[in-house]
């Protein structure tokens, strides 16, 4: 039986961690992810887990310690946000290329500057090419459910890649919502134990990790890593199918909301998708053929699935909650428009950068986007393709 609870996203993650009982947790505080290790420290203090909990002196070191532990044969976890994730940058790439399936919880927060503690995806989007799998959540329930699926995906022999479970800073990490938790023993049975084939502490067969790879070998390693990321798509779907069978909640790479006959669509991520769904409902009631795609898995990027879902739309807005400073659009736009390029008939597409540093995104904001899409569909003219919304006029 599921357990009805009221939890913040951070406590939901910490609860999932407690149920999984990882071998090593290396922590360093940063707002808004700090609560995750705080809750966990109490579980350690109360004897609810037998994890080795180490408080290191930086995020660079927290992930480095996770690498050492994971390579040694452990299930290792950590959590961070914003500048902390940026500080890990170098080690993220090492984790992925060393094929060490560390699970990292990220409470997504703006990057400095100006310094800001609120939500956007500047931090996680900046790491989109690090080789980590990235799974995003709309609400606290999804955060919890995603976390329960994380280790199985990351550790799968066809994948063996580190994984980020992303929640929206404060909006998801701190806001308390109703949530259905699963029973400890059922979670343990679903997640299973970690049995790596090779590890540093395997007494009968030592292991060497992290070689110097000259040009004669580097490319093969990178291609193998690329294939692992491609393999992750099917594994994510398989784990989701088993999750649905076990716990009854269904997940995919993307969520299509009222897309069957949609002419105007939004591609959006995280908690903003919940807000936009309310706008879609209102517009549908008025007879507007509005729909949206929520991206749950950003790495591997579900380009084919997104293109397929958008192929019959007339106008599409890509909602970027990070400014990539490319000068021509955010990262979600770049990838989505690229994914749609080979469609026989393509929808008109614009990029809207919104919600930076916690700038509010309301149902009205979402409706204004659909208004704009309606005009684009009617006139066949996109106007400026790359725009920002919600900021003060100069």
């Amino acid at each position: 039986m599921s357990i009805r609870e009221r939890l913040s996203g951070n406590e939901a993650i910490a609860t999932a961690m407690r149920q999984i009982n990882p071998d090593v947790f290396a922590m360093f505080p940063i707002t808004p992810s700090t609560e995750i290790p705080q809750y966990f420290a109490q579980y350690v203090a109360d004897g609810k887990v037998d994890t080795e909990f180490i408080c290191v002196e930086s995020e660079h070191s927290s992930l480095s310690a996770c690498l050492g532990a994971e390579a040694a044969g452990c299930r290792a976890v950590t959590a961070t946000s914003s500048a902390g994730l940026s500080f890990m940058n170098e080690v993220l790439y090492v984790a992925a290329s060393s094929r060490l399936p560390v699970v990292l919880a990220v409470a997504c927060r703006a990057l400095t500057g100006p310094i800001n503690i609120n939500h956007d995806y500047s931090d996680s989007m900046a790491e989109r090419d690090s080789g980590f799998i990235q799974i995003y959540a709309e609400n606290n329930q999804e955060v919890y459910d995603n976390y329960l699926q994380a280790h199985r995906i990351a550790e799968h022999p066809d994948v063996r890649l580190p994984l980020m479970i992303c929640e929206d800073g404060f909006i998801t990490s701190h806001a308390i919502e109703n949530i259905e938790l699963e029973e400890d023993d059922k979670v343990k049975a679903f997640v299973g134990e970690y049995h790596p084939e090779n590890y540093l502490l395997k007494e009968e067969n030592p292991l060497a990790v992290g070689p110097y790879g000259i040009s004669a070998y580097y490319m093969e390693a990178r291609v193998a890593q690329a294939h692992a990321m491609m393999n992750a798509k099917q594994v994510i779907l398989d784990v989701a199918a088993d999750f649905e069978k076990t716990f009854g909640r269904k997940y995919g790479l993307i969520e299509e909301y009222k897309m069957e006959d949609a002419e105007l669509a939004m591609v959006i991520m995280g908690s903003s998708a919940g807000t936009a769904k309310a706008a879609v409902d209102e517009l549908r009631a008025q007879g507007v053929k509005a729909g949206l795609i929520k991206i749950r898995v950003f790495r591997p990027f579900p380009g084919e699935e997104i293109a397929n879902a958008l192929k019959n739309c007339k106008a599409v807005a890509i909602m970027d909650k990070s400014e990539g400073f490319s000068g021509c659009g955010g990262p979600l736009y770049a990838e989505t428009s690229g994914a749609c390029y080979n469609l026989k008939t393509r929808p008109l597409m614009v990029d809207i950068v919104f919600g930076l540093g916690g700038r509010d995104f309301t149902v009205e904001s979402a409706k204004s986007v659909y208004d704009r899409l309606a005009k684009i569909a009617e006139t066949g003219e996109t106007g400026d393709i790359y725009t920002h919304m919600g900021q003060r006029e100069r």
């Binding site: 071998d23 660079h60 070191s61 480095s64 690498l67 532990a69 390579a71 452990c74 990790v209 070689p211």
Partner: protein
């Protein structure tokens, strides 16, 4: 058991030939000696910072190391090792590995990866008290990238970023005294040594460090023929000169108690060390005599301070 060179040399090598370190490099000698100090039935995990040793000893698909080995990056060997230490603890507790097997976590980095970029992670690991031994092979500069000065480079040494010239006599600053900084962390064992004699000094310190519980530190002056500019066969002569001039005193600190492990019968002038190496050649030019005097003054002061601590 008394140290016996012959017995030690008859042990199976755990750092094997075929690595790509330069002829006349001290790092290979450090690694062999470090591994001889691990008791034969004990397992080791080596955590190596990026540097000459890493690119030379584990070039895919070959490794020179018999024991498990991990390299992740330049500045985080100590934090990576912290994770390995945590793994040993928890896997024994959970019965995932044999609780009776002794796993020794050895961290090794050059001075760049230890004194400079790896300083924070080293300090963190020492403070947390993990059961690891850090070996610094201090060759006084960033050698893997071509002899750029580090905080371990001694004053007046020429490096590619502190070259000698009309307006320069090499590095302007004195060497950071990292061993003292480590001692200030309150570790149970810290030592300085180098490669000299029958390696007894190195062996005994390494063994004591490895078999003292908690974080321990061994700082090894390790000449580099490319960066110090000496004929490869002079490696051991330079180490001997370093201890006889007291440029690199060899001592140990056990729970705060200092002990000199080698005292030269006759303390030699610093130029006996400096003249063996091209990196100090400019100090011997006319008009630069003051540099040798200044170097001597610094060494004398440090030596006096150390002797006072050893009383």
């Amino acid at each position: 058991m008394a140290y016996n060179l012959k017995e030690e040399m008859n042990k199976k090598e755990r750092f094997n030939p075929g690595h790509r370190l330069c002829a006349g490099c001290g790092a290979g000698i450090v690694c062999r000696a470090m591994m001889r100090a691990v008791d034969e039935n004990d397992k080791a995990v080596i955590c190596n910072a990026t540097g000459c040793l890493e690119v030379s000893s584990f070039q895919y698909p070959y490794t020179a190391w018999d024991d498990s080995y991990i390299h992740t990056a330049f500045e985080n060997a100590s934090s990576t090792a912290s994770g390995v230490c945590a793994a040993v603890e928890v896997m024994k507790r959970k019965g995932k590995i044999n609780p009776d097997t002794n796993y020794k976590v050895l961290v090794i980095g050059g001075d760049g990866g230890t004194y400079d970029i790896g300083f924070q992670s080293l300090s963190g690991a020492l403070e947390r008290g993990h059961d690891l031994t850090y070996f610094c092979y201090d060759n006084n500069a960033y050698m893997n990238t071509g002899t750029q000065r580090s905080s371990a480079t001694p004053r007046f040494a020429a490096a590619t970023t502190t070259p000698a010239g009309v307006d320069s006599v090499g590095k302007k600053q004195d060497q950071k005294d990292l061993t003292q900084i480590v001692v200030a962390h309150g570790v149970h064992y810290a030592a300085q040594t180098t490669l000299f004699g029958n390696m007894k000094d190195f062996h005994e310190k390494a063994h004591r460090a490895i078999y003292t519980e908690g974080p321990t530190f061994v700082n090894v002056l390790t000449p580099c023929p490319r960066g110090w500019n000496y004929p490869t066969e002079d490696l051991l002569a330079i180490c001997k000169a370093a201890i006889d001039t007291c440029v690199w005193p060899v001592y140990e600190v056990v729970d705060g108690e200092y002990r000199l492990t080698y005292e030269p019968k006759k303390k030699l002038p610093v130029e006996e060390f400096m003249k063996l190496q091209g990196r100090f050649a400019h100090c011997f030019k006319k008009g630069n005599e003051w540099t040798i005097e200044a170097a001597q003054k610094y060494v004398d002061k440090k030596w006096e301070d150390l002797l006072a601590k050893c009383k």
